[in-house]
Amino acid sequence: MFSLKNIAQSMLQPLLAIIAGLAVGAIAILIVGGSVGETYMEMWKGAFGSFYFLTNTLARATPIILIGLGVALAFRAGFFNMGSEGQLVLGALAAAVTVIYLPGPGWLRMIAGLLAGITAGGIWSAFAGWLDARFRLNLLIVTLLLNYIATLFTGYMAAYPLKDKTGSAAMAQTVMLDKAAWLPKLFQGMTLHAGFILAVAGTLLLYLFMKHTVKGYEISMLGGNPLFAGYGGVQRGKLMIASMFASGGFAGLAGAVEVLGTQYRFLDGALTSPGYAWSGIMATLLAGSNPLGTALAALLLAALQTGGMGMERNTDVPLEVSSIIQAALILFVSAKLTLSFIKRKKARSKNGSAV
């Protein structure tokens, strides 16, 4: 009974955010002269209307879930890792390069590619953590700025040294990966690939880890009260680097599965223009860093995006309106974030630049 009330309360905030977002979206739809009911109906159909559209949504959700999990882990430990985008593209590039240059059978290169993605994203993220632990550079700023370095670096690599010179050669992209190393599609003719299984497994593992292990408890404690955690014998610096590595590793894995399962090559802009990283961060904020909730919220955001595409395909309402609904959602969610930000600031201690 008590827990039911708890769940209801934790669901209230996201529910309100969604309703308010949809209401603002309704105004936008009315302004462009569409009919709200029909538009939302098409949106629903585009996201969940049939098995085919459902798999589309799940495919879209895959990278968002993985990124969201990573961010949730960092947030839980009290570290504002805003560097998912950079970790994502570095992971993607590392996976592509590994599969292109590593000899051996396809399945081995695929697994090596996934591991390379995790490692690259993890190191990039841990580097930011190290800068904070060692030089007291503000983590939020460092991770944000490292995004630019990573995206521009990968863009350069794709446009010059690794560029695919075959075909019309007008795109900044690496060569196509060997078919043997592709992540298998789950259903014939649909975009959903095996990366989704990794995302689901990651969700469950992270949930169990946070809930049932000592390390998981230490991480939550560090995020909840750094001073108390230090008093209890938790080594902040060490744990910070470890959790930042894991956090970036999730983002790197997201990049790797997108490269191995969707584009089959590293294409500059393919991961940054859909805003996967920011959707992932948003999912985490929506769910208050709960792993299961993050996965659900990621699914919701992906549904909004695929629903937006469906709406654009079948009505005269432009795609931008679904962006407006999403933006309205961010707005309402960030209102909650600001509150918790202020609370944290008050509780800030000498021992943690938690925010």
Binding site: A170, Q188, M190, T191
Partner: protein, 353 residues
Amino acid sequence: MKKQMALLLVLILAVGVIAACGAKSTNSGNANSGKNESSQNENGGNDKPKQRIALVLPEAIGVNPFFALMDEGFKRAGEEFGVEVKTIESTDPAAFEQNLRTTVAENYDLIITATFQAEDALNKIAPENPDKSFAIIDTVIDQPNVRSVVFREHEAAFLLGAAAGLSTKTNKVGAVVAMDVPLLSKYTSGFEQGLKHTNPDAELLINYVGSFTDSAKGKEMALLQYDKGVDFIAGMAAVGDLGVFEAAKERGLYASGQDVDRTELDPEHIVLSQLKGTDAVAYETVKAFVEGTFQFGSADYGLKEDGVGLTFVTRDSKSALSPFVGQENVDKLKAIAEEIKSGTIQVVNPLAQ
């Protein structure tokens, strides 16, 4: 307490808005379906279900004249030939592939897409659906169920080069090009051939921006060329052309644009525009499909088919002709265009070698 009241109020308002809209939508929904029925009835007379054709674009149309024009021609064809047409824009590569797959799943009779950005997705999807018909504009894909429609841009570039050769006073002209890739050599090579045709002594400077979207760098390249004594620059840099135009205005010199009639922006300095009729090929593709003359393989459109052209020479412009070019030169260029069409002048396609 106050907060909760406020929340409640917001909630009630929100529900009110949604409910109100819902009511309206049922009405307009009925009206729409009524319309559909009647149009289907009209078609029913022909005893043929209405054909459905989708144009799936890898980007949002936005301010890109290339796509805007294509969409225009596509919609016009849909109206004239009584087929249901739908244009679908995409935000990013993953969304593009999903949109393309969805049009396959939704059983469109013909699916048209465009540009090199679509190559990857179409190369994946076309072999998976061998009984579907596809067409791609502005690039060639070698699949048995795809019709590739490309342009002979080198012919229009030849005309533009010829115009530059006739018009230049300093005997130095420039070209600011997006990227050093095979695709764009159709432009540079054609331009150079045309320039040498009318003015064998003219010097040509070529600079590459390194991107399709960098207008700031396009401007720097143009300023550099003007500083070297160039008096006419052919902008071949997509969005970078906007920078070239700015540079031309600053220096009071001349430039040309691409795809659509760019002279309308600033007729004093943008004196010519190399045209690419993406509207015509979208229109022709739909037309061929409806009339049953649609064939897989590759087709190309040049000056003869009015797929490419040059303002003032092959098509009239709303803006006034600049004295830099002059009517006399335009008449000469018209003769050259005729010679290209009849085959007297052979423009070499650098990609065909």
